[in-house]
C-alpha cells in the first residue's frame, strides 16, 4: 500500500496549494501565464535548426517506339532509350541538400546527387559558402549548377516542373553541368517588379560524348537576370568563356588542326513565364556558338513553348520544341580529307555536332499529396533535316547510321517525383 499513500499525500498537497495560489491570481490569469510558458517552450522548440535537410527523389521509366534509319540500323533516343524495354535508370535520381547557418550572415550549402545510371555514386551538385554583404546582396564561392537556362538551376528536382524531362532540344544543348567559381546575387525591386541579378565567374570541364574528348572551359563569366511581376517572370542569361579542345586523339588522327586553344564561346538564353495559378505558359530560346578553326562548330539555336492548365490535382500540358544548326555553307574546308569517302575534316566535325529536330510533347502531372507527384508524357519527334543536310536529331546509332527514317519516333515516360 505504499503507492496509494503516496498518491493520497500528493493529492492533499495539490489541494492545499491550489487555494493558496488562487488568492493571488484569478483562474484566467493563471491560464494566461500557463499559455505564455507553453508558448515560450514551443518557441524554443521551433527555433531554426542548425542544419536544414531537404531532399528529392525521381523514379522515371521511358521507352521509345522502333526508330530506324533508311538502311535499317536501330537508333536510340539520346543514346540510351529504345523500344526493347523500359529504361529505368537514365532519369532516376535522388538528392539531399544540407543548409547550415554559420552565422546571421553566412551559410554553407552542400547538395549531393546520385543518379541510377551512375549506380547512385554520389556527385556534388552544389557546395558553396554564402555571405550576405547587405540584406539584398549575397556573395558565394564554391561549386554551382550553371545558370544558363530558365529552369537549369533545379533541373534535377523534377517535382519543381511539369514535365518528366525538361525539353531536351533546349536542355541538351550544353550538357548540364556544374562549375567551380564565385558569384554575386543582388535582389532588388523597381516598383512592383522584383529582380534577382546574378554575375558569376568560374571554370569547368565538359565531357564530350560525341567524340570522347573533353571541352576545357576556362574564364567562364556571365550575367543572368530573373524578374518577377505578379504572374509574369522573365529570364535573361549571357555567358562567355575560353574553350580548349584537343582533337589530336580522335581517330583517325586527322582532326589535330581543328583543335581549339582558348577559343571564344558564348551562350545566351531568353525566357518568359506566365502563371496565374491555373493557366500557365512558358517559352525559352537559346543560342550557343563556339569560335572554331575553319568554323566547324555549328551555331545551335533551340527553344520551346509550353502551355498547361491546373485543374484540381491534374495538370495537363503541351510543349512544342525545336533545335536547329547553322548552315553548312558557313563551314570553311580545312583541306584535310578523311578517308574512305574523303570528306573534308571540318565538315565531318560539323556533322557530328549539328542537330535538327522538332517535337510535340503531351503530358500530365497528378499531385498525389503535397510533396509527391505522378507524371506521364509522350513525345513525338520529327523534321531531322532537309534535302541539303540531314541530322540524327537527338537520336544516335552505330557508326555510319543515318537520319531517322522508318517508323514514327515516339518516346513515352512515366515518373514518380517527390520532395521532402
Amino acid at each position: 500500500m505504499p503507492r496509494l499513500s503516496h498518491v493520497l499525500s500528493g493529492l492533499a498537497l495539490v489541494a492545499t496549494s491550489v487555494p493558496a495560489l488562487a488568492e493571488e491570481l484569478t483562474l484566467e490569469q493563471r491560464l494566461a501565464a500557463a499559455e505564455e510558458r507553453l508558448a515560450s517552450l514551443e518557441t524554443r522548440k521551433s527555433e531554426a535548426p542548425k542544419v536544414a535537410i531537404n531532399g528529392f527523389i525521381t523514379f522515371a521509366m521511358e521507352k521509345s517506339s522502333l526508330v530506324e534509319d533508311a538502311a535499317g540500323n536501330d537508333l536510340s533516343y539520346l543514346g540510351s532509350v529504345d523500344n526493347e524495354g523500359w529504361n529505368l535508370n537514365r532519369l532516376t535520381r535522388a538528392g539531399l541538400q544540407f543548409n547550415s547557418k554559420i552565422s546571421d550572415k553566412a551559410e554553407a550549402v552542400v547538395q549531393l546527387l546520385g543518379r541510377a545510371s551512375d549506380d547512385f555514386n554520389v556527385d556534388v551538385q552544389w557546395a558553396y559558402v554564402g555571405y550576405d554583404l547587405t540584406p539584398g546582396l549575397t556573395a558565394r564561392a564554391g561549386r554551382f549548377v550553371l545558370p544558363f537556362y530558365l529552369h537549369s538551376q533545379y533541373t534535377q528536382v523534377g517535382y519543381a516542373y511539369p514535365w518528366i524531362e525538361l525539353p531536351s532540344e533546349q536542355y541538351s544543348v550544353i550538357p548540364l553541368d556544374t562549375m567551380e567559381g564565385i558569384d554575386l546575387t543582388w535582389q532588388t525591386r523597381t516598383g512592383n517588379i522584383s529582380h534577382s541579378i546574378n554575375v558569376f565567374w568560374g571554370g569547368m570541364q565538359v565531357d564530350d560524348t560525341t567524340n570522347g574528348t573533353t571541352f576545357d572551359v576556362q574564364n567562364q563569366h556571365g550575367i543572368n537576370v530573373r524578374s518577377e511581376w505578379g504572374n509574369w517572370s522573365g529570364w535573361y542569361s549571357f555567358s562567355n568563356s575560353e574553350v580548349t579542345l584537343d582533337l589530336s586523339t580522335v581517330p583517325p588522327g586527322l582532326f589535330t588542326s581543328l583543335s581549339m586553344d582558348k577559343r571564344y564561346a558564348y551562350f545566351t538564353g531568353l525566357g518568359v513565364q506566365y502563371d496565374n495559378g491555373s493557366l500557365f505558359a512558358m517559352a525559352e530560346r537559346g543560342r550557343l556558338n563556339l569560335s572554331t578553326p575553319f568554323d566547324w562548330f555549328p551555331q545551335t539555336d533551340s527553344g520551346y513553348v509550353t502551355v498547361g492548365y491546373r485543374h484540381g490535382k491534374w495538370t495537363p500540358h503541351l510543349t512544342w520544341a525545336m533545335i536547329d544548326h547553322g548552315d553548312t555553307s558557313e563551314v570553311d574546308a580545312s583541306g584535310v580529307p578523311i578517308p574512305p569517302a574523303n570528306v573534308d575534316a571540318s565538315f565531318v566535325l560539323f556533322s557530328s555536332y549539328a542537330q535538327r529536330q522538332k517535337s510535340w510533347t503531351l503530358g500530365t502531372r497528378y499531385d498525389l499529396t503535397p510533396g509527391v507527384a505522378l507524371k506521364a508524357e509522350a513525345t513525338h519527334m520529327y523534321d531531322f533535316g532537309d534535302d541539303d543536310f540531314r541530322t540524327q536529331g537527338l537520336f544516335s546509332g552505330a557508326v555510319g547510321s543515318g537520319t531517322p527514317d522508318k517508323g514514327e519516333p515516339w518516346v513515352y515516360r512515366l515518373a514518380v517525383e517527390s520532395v521532402f
Binding site: E42, T369, P370, A373
Partner: protein
Amino acid sequence: MKRLLALLVSLPLALITQSALAERIAIIAGEQAPVSNLTLTEAQQLFSGQLRSVDGHAVEALDMPGNDNLRNAFYQQLLGRNADQMRAHWARLIFTGKAKPPREVAHSDEMRAQVTRSNNMIGYLPADKVPANAKVLLIIN
C-alpha cells in the same frame, strides 16, 4: 421574366456567400516592429521568398504548419496557389539555395508568441484573433 428576376436575386447572394467563405486574414508584426504596413505586392513577395527586407529593415516570415487550414486559405487568398503549388514553388528556390521557406510554427499560439516577442518576424492570424500587442500590416480577404 420570373427566371431573370430569380437570377438577379440569386447573383448577389452568390457573391455574398463567396466573400463570406473567404476568411479575413491579418498579416501581423510585433508592436515594436519598425515596419508598420505592407502593400499587397510586398506581402506576395515576402511570402514567396522574393523579399527579405522592407524599407531597409530585415524581416522574416513565419508560416503555420504544413497541413493547416489557415495556411492553405492564406496562400490561396494571397497568391492564388494551393498547397501542391506552393510546395513546387519552394522546391525551385530551396534546391538552388535562392531562398528558404518561412519557418513553420507549431500552432497559432506560437505564431502569436513569436511575432509579438520579436521586431522582425511577420506572421498571419485570423483577423479576429490578432492580439493587442501585435500590429496589423495588411488584411487579406
